[in-house]
């Protein structure tokens, strides 16, 4: 049980999320990918906190806590935007929302 294992887990989770963001067409799945990436970042914070020289500062835990709160806000606004896009364009496909096409 050392730091490397958790960093590796976090790296895999991050790559999974990144792949989802870059390759899935559905906006909700893109959002899911973003959530996975955020989770990976939080896991990193907690792991570094756990193995830090002064864990009683709780720096990593605090950062993860605030990041969870911010992520909740981000999901709420993101989903509201998706619902709005769906209502306007009748699609949740990020590739269909290409009104800025050159």
């Amino acid at each position: 049980m050392n730091l490397q294992i958790f960093l590796a887990i976090s790296a895999v989770l991050f790559a999974t999320g990144l792949a989802a963001v870059l390759s899935r067409a559905n906006a909700i799945l893109v959002l899911i990918g973003i959530e996975l990436m955020l989770g990976a970042a939080n896991l990193n914070f907690v792991a570094f906190w756990k193995f830090s020289p002064s864990p009683s500062d709780l720096t990593g835990v605090m950062f993860a806590l605030f990041s969870i709160a911010v992520a909740a806000a981000e999901v709420a606004v993101g989903l509201a935007i998706i619902i709005l896009v769906h209502r306007r364009m009748n699609t949740v496909d990020v590739d269909d929302a290409d009104e800025l096409k050159g």
Binding site: M1, N2, Q4, I5, L7, A8, I9, A11, V12, L13, A15, G17, L18, A19, A20, V21, L22, S23, R24, A25, N26, I28, L29, I32, G33, E35, L36, G39, N42, V46, A47, K50, F51, S52, S56, D57, L58, V61, M62, A64, L65, I68, A69, V70, A71, A72, A73, E74, V75, A76, V77, L79, A80, I81, I83, L84, N90, T91, V92, D93
Partner: protein, 182 residues
Amino acid sequence: MIQNILNELAADPWGVAGKWFALAPAAVLLLAAAAAVVARNLVRAALALTLSFMALGVLFISLGAEFLGFVQLMVYVGAVAMLIVFAILLTRPDRLRRTATALRGAGPAAGVVIGLVTLGGLLGVISTSPLAAGTKCAPAATAPVARIGEVLMGSHVAALLAVGVLLTAALVGAAILAIEDK
């Protein structure tokens, strides 16, 4: 390598089992995340995501951050997952249109390749980093609730207030965005 593991197993079976068992949530986390990403059915993707959130919470708990793990469960499973589910049901695509959830074409493939390259780079960095190799688990690292309260209301109080404002603004903003035009 295998011999080492077997020796260790013979010496302290319960400890070794515990060690591997502690990684079970990580396995669930990664499998569920992968399932969420490749799922064809959106609702199943959301359910897999929920499972991965749960596993991440359990992982936090096993790392000693109990409070954070519970918060993760409460916020993500109780709120975020349900929000996503609601969004999925509110934005069901028309039957006539393509469902557009398939992983096909050059673009998505490029995305997957970028993800894999990133993974390779990260794993390379992690395996060679002197920071990661040197440190060992500090069993004393726990986050008692009282201490979290002190820190949150002490040195982080400005951030706490800012988060409160942010959440309120996000709530109002989301409501305004999603409200039906009368």
